[in-house]
């Protein structure tokens, strides 16, 4: 049975839950967010990804109501949020520091938001118990925040922010304080909880792996602007700029001059060697004038490594292995080409160590298919 693909952003009949309309936020002379327009849909797990200081936290704080946009509009569920204070928004936030109330028990922390809703005692208690079960904290209900571990505190913070069943949950670097292993487990837990509750999640993170794992769509940000919004696989396979390609995962960038050739472009990248060719399997490549500057972005795992010149490959370049990074399951070969460009090639270590044919200082050939590289103009 085919599962229908969750892609409301491709469906013109869907109304977005959150709309940023030309939002600008300035702090004094500093522009944190620059004329931003962005739609986020119901039930999405949306990631705002970028280095620190790129404005992702400001976007989130504007959604929560802690900051007001200097210009533009933010709509949640079609309603303009201008002047609506945080306590009157159907939005809850999980803070980076967790911000658990140290003087209240785990149970009271979770009940805190519910107590502001004028519910009956039974409803409130049932909801707290439900949240405790969802986050597997029932055993710790009576403890104070300083009596539980970091991972448990993270779950209390999540339970507390979910208790009011908000339309939108904001997560500010929710896993930043956890160690790697716990972080990975928690990512899957978060996705699970997001699916179970059907809440729209917006997560802020600087960790690209985390964003790739959890998000339905990612907005890559830099200096107050969203550079690209796309699904994790599109961000990885079809970045729209060198910045995005470089920010997400490992990438080799080869710079050259483009020239229209057949169904694609030839890229002249060095003197005295054949140009590289690139085309797209379907759709059109971006338009670059003849002789214009172009960049080829090639992921290391799409570069094959050979001892002899591969036959019938247009894109084959020769170089010398400078470094080998052995990661257990993978090895990355750092190869210097004749003109000094470094290219990384990654191979899966399907054979035992002694049987692999490449090592330091070997002369090797690297190749990739015509469709492996992404052509970028900037």
């Amino acid at each position: 049975m085919a599962v229908p693909v969750f892609a409301p952003w491709d469906d013109p009949t869907q109304k977005p839950l959150i709309q940023f309309k030309g939002v600008t936020k300035r702090f004094g002379d500093f522009t944190a967010i620059d004329n931003q327009t962005l739609d986020i849909y119901t039930r999405e797990f949306f990631a705002l990804l970028g280095p620190s200081g790129c404005g992702k936290t400001t976007m989130m704080r504007m959604l929560a109501g802690f900051e007001q946009p200097t210009e533009g509009q933010i709509l949640i569920g079609g309603k303009d949020m201008k002047g609506v204070p945080p306590n009157e928004r159907e939005v809850n936030m999980m803070f980076q520091s967790y911000a658990l109330f140290p003087h209240l028990s785990v149970w009271e922390n979770i009940a805190f938001g519910l107590r502001r809703m004028n519910q009956s005692k039974d409803v409130l208690e049932a909801r707290v118990e439900e949240m405790l079960r969802l986050t597997r904290l029932t055993k710790f209900a009576k403890r104070k925040p300083h009596q539980i571990s970091g991972g448990q505190r993270q779950r209390v913070a999540l339970a507390r922010s979910l208790a009011r069943a908000p339309k939108l949950l904001l997560l500010d670097e929710p896993l930043g304080a956890l160690d790697k292993k716990l972080r990975e487990e928690t990512q899957f837990e978060l996705m699970d909880i997001q699916e179970k509750t059907g809440t729209t999640f917006v997560i802020v993170t600087h960790d690209q792996e985390e964003a790739m794992t959890v998000a339905s769509r990612i907005a890559v940000m830099d200096e107050g602007r969203v550079i690209q919004v796309a699904t994790p696989s599109n961000i990885y396979e079809a970045p729209n700029s060198v910045y995005v390609a470089d920010f997400i995962g490992d990438v080799n960038i080869i710079e050259g001059a483009a020239k229209r050739a057949g169904d694609g472009y030839d890229i002249t990248w060095a003197e005295g060697v054949a140009p590289l060719h690139t085309r797209k399997e379907e759709g059109e490549l971006i338009a670059i004038p003849d002789g214009g500057k172009a960049y080829l972005a090639i992921r290391p795992e799409k570069v094959a490594i050979h001892t002899e010149k591969p036959q019938g490959m247009t894109n084959a370049v020769q170089g010398r292995i400078i470094d080998v990074a052995y990661l257990g399951n993978l090895s990355t070969y750092h190869v210097r080409l004749a003109n000094g460009t470094m290219v990384r090639a990654q191979t899966a270590n399907t054979r035992r160590l002694a049987l692999r044919p490449f090592t330091w200082e070997d002369e090797v050939w690297l190749s990739w298919t015509d469709t492996a590289a992404i052509l970028l103009a900037e």
């Binding site: 109501g65 204070p85 306590n87 936030m93 911000a99 809703m117 300083h146 009596q147 970091g150």
Partner: protein, 273 residues
Amino acid sequence: MRRLSWFNVTSLTLGFAFLYLPMVILVIYSFNASKLVTVWAGFSTKWYGELLQNQAFLDAAWVTLKVGVAASTLATVLGTMAALVLVRAGRFPGRTLFSGMIYAPLVMPEVITGLSLLLLFISLGVDRGVFTIILAHTTFAMCYVSVVVSSRLVTFDQSLEEAALDLGCSPFSAFRLVTLPIIAPAVISGWLLAFTLSLDDLVIASFTAGPSATTLPIKIFSAVRLGVSPEINALCTIMISIVAVGVIGTSLATKRAAQRQKRDEQAAARAAG
């Protein structure tokens, strides 16, 4: 740990003698049977009994207590509010001036504070009495409270208050339900400090007290001018013991709480690891 050398021992002894010898002598002489303060005539507690018969002293003690509680409570409310604004509010015109001005009364000679308040009350035509002492004590104790509370607020994680707002609190209930309980220890010590200051203030009180209201320090001071009586020694001994019990009790409670917190955190870390 380093052993105590003869030098350390001597310094310690001299230091403590300097601080506490006068009080020790006072306490000892409060149990003197003789009416002459400087002549030891055997142990007796009769002066404590006489003290309880002395209506003037009891009245003064009652006034002092009323003034202390009222002034320190008012000072705590106002001082906490001032601290909140000075720590929280970002830049506003005159911010530096305001924060400087809140500290000024700390270094202002009390004579000047007292005199200026006296002039103010006279020019406003306010009858001097308990009410004016309360106002005067509130004025000078408030800045101590705001110093104590603001030093706590500086380290207060503001995302706690944001979390409360986010969970549906109005700004006032966020303060009442989250900020206040967390900074309560600082607010309480601010109150205690204000109370102590009000309790032993002589200078400002004598400027602002009228004939109808005499505080204990004023009463003691005027009694001593007629000669030190063993009754005064007894009174002072009682005051010393109240203060000592208060200080020791508070520090023990603080230490206990800190130890418990540490133990809990270690237990949580062990359970996680």
